[in-house]
């Protein structure tokens, strides 16, 4: 016969009980925007390093207007979710390597201005009608243009760290069994790159660029599906708290959101659409691209909310 247990806790603290509600929608949104920005910057940098700027203008030029906006909005969202926001500057009084949030904050401090500089280096090509009024700004733009490749070299590692960081931020917490798996870093990086590729796909004007990013995105989706299977398998073979965490995704309140919006509509359907496009059928690329972006956003919301339900004690 099974043992019964009745449990009563005298604790009822706001936002802690019955389940944790410490991180809200701004965190999910930030994780999505950070990944998207990192993905776009990564592709722009890699194309620049390879010297293919002429062939893929959307990637290096037009799409890079998004990262500074996305990262700034993401940072605003982060600060908005702090409960002691006037002390935010305390983040930059120390570097704590053990805390992913600390080095994430420093990486953002470097990457966000760099993303602004990158767009500024294309200013005269992006906004030919609005001339810069001051001479020193024109000189600054020329200087940036000359150093674009150097910026690209810096952005490749920075964007990868930023993309992984959005996942490691969560996976560093062993108290939340759903988050506490090593796959979350690579999974969020892949998802971030995939949403970046989808955005380029959405904005690209030439068939050549569209096809390249269709292929890249298809590959990333396959990797992402593999990582999701890997994540579920590792939790299925885990301890009791991990089994309970997995149950939320595969047979609980987040099943529809996770499998419906992330796995099927966000990954499998766009993969099929992109594949049919690559082999020559006419498919409006906006459909898979938007599905991927929605799927990426929902993935962040599901992981942040479901993770906070999982715990060790009661």
């Amino acid at each position: 016969m099974q043992q019964e247990e009745i449990f009563i806790s005298g604790r009822n603290i706001p936002h802690i009980d019955p389940t944790l509600e410490i991180w809200h929608w701004p965190i999910s949104l930030y994780l999505f925007l950070g990944g998207l920005g990192a993905g776009l910057l990564f592709f722009a940098a890699i194309i620049t390093v390879l010297g293919k700027e002429e062939d893929y203008p959307t990637t290096v030029k037009y799409a890079t207007i998004i990262p500074p906006i996305a990262l700034s909005l993401g940072l605003l969202a982060l600060v908005y979710d702090l409960t002691h926001p006037l002390y935010t500057w305390q983040l930059y009084t120390t570097i704590r390597l053990e805390s992913p949030m600390s080095w994430g904050a420093w990486v953002l401090l470097v990457t966000t201005p760099l993303s602004f500089l990158w767009v500024f280096s294309y200013y005269s090509e992006l906004f030919p009608k609005w001339k810069l009024k001051f001479n020193f700004l024109n000189n600054f733009e020329k200087l940036l243009k000359k150093n674009r490749k150097n910026m690209a070299y810096a952005l490749i590692p920075l964007s990868i760290i930023l993309g992984i960081y959005t996942g490691i931020l969560l996976s560093a917490f062993n108290a939340r069994p759903l988050w506490n798996n090593a796959i979350l870093g690579p999974l969020f990086l892949t998802s971030g790159l995939s949403t970046g590729a989808a955005t380029i796909l959405l904005l690209a004007k030439t068939t050549k660029e569209r096809h390249l990013f269709s292929k890249i995105d298809l590959l990333l989706i396959i990797i992402e599906l593999g990582l999701i299977i890997h994540m579920i398998m590792s939790m299925a073979a885990g301890s009791e708290v991990q089994l309970e965490a997995m149950q939320l995704l595969i047979g609980g309140e987040f099943t529809l959101m996770f499998f419906g919006f992330v796995v099927i509509l966000g990954l499998i359907v766009p993969a099929i659409l992109e594949f049919t496009e690559i082999i020559g059928y006419k498919v409006p690329v906006a459909v898979p691209a938007i599905l991927i972006l929605i799927g990426g956003l929902v993935l962040r919301f599901v992981m942040v909310e479901a993770g906070q339900i999982t715990r060790y004690l009661y």
Binding site: M1, Q3, E4, E5, I6, F7, I8, S9, G10, R11, N12, I13, P14, H15, I16, D17, L20, I22, W23, D81, L82, T83, H84, P85, Y87, T88, Q90, L91, T93, T94, R96, E98, S99, P100, M101, S102, A105, A172, F173, N174, A175, R176, S239, V241, Q308, R311, Y312, L313, Y314
Partner: protein, 177 residues
């Protein structure tokens, strides 16, 4: 020096005096608490077992809250006590997410707050408020590095457990069972 708290679950009656003493001593805002009492009934009728526990921050040796704090507001002081400096805390909530005991909360003023083992009383040579008021004297406080302290002797003699040891945090609040 390694401070530890030992709580005798066989002597605890669940009166919540420790909770009220803490709230009064530390001016804990209304609706919040730094310690709390849990009650669990387990087994199959008629052989039921009741366990009462006064729980709080475990002042872990391997404190995940200190590890993940991005500003260093959460830190460990002499004796292994985990403290938070309110003016360095940005209220990001990382420590709350990282605590397997959910012992921390966001103070209405914004910073993160939790049990301090009554650090201010220890400095004056007094016991933590919760320990000092317990009517059944089921709580003990002392130094685990001293083999002659009451807590060391109790842990040597009695069967005991800690909460969620599988979380790997090496907690310093022990429950005699």
């Amino acid at each position: 020096m390694r401070y530890a708290m030992v709580i005798d679950t066989l002597k605890c009656v669940g009166c919540s005096d420790c909770v009220v003493a803490c709230q009064t001593e530390n001016s804990v805002p209304v609706g919040y608490c730094r310690d709390w009492v849990t009650e669990s009934v387990s087994g199959t009728y008629p052989t039921l077992e009741l366990e009462l526990k006064s729980e709080r921050c475990n002042h872990c040796d391997n404190a995940p809250c200190v590890r993940c704090c991005p500003t260093g507001a959460s830190h460990i002081v002499k004796g292994g006590i985990v403290l938070v400096i309110g003016d360095e805390c940005i209220g990001c909530g990382a420590c709350i997410e990282s605590c397997p005991y959910d012992a921390r909360y966001q103070h209405p003023d914004g910073y993160v707050d939790k049990c301090t083992f009554c650090h201010h009383r220890l400095e004056k040579g007094q016991l933590p408020a919760c320990v000092s008021v317990c009517p059944t004297k089921c709580m003990y406080f002392g130094d685990l590095d001293d083999p002659n302290s009451e807590v060391s002797k109790l842990l040597k003699r009695r069967k005991h457990k800690t909460l969620a040891p599988e979380a790997g945090t090496k907690p310093n609040v022990y429950y005699l069972i």
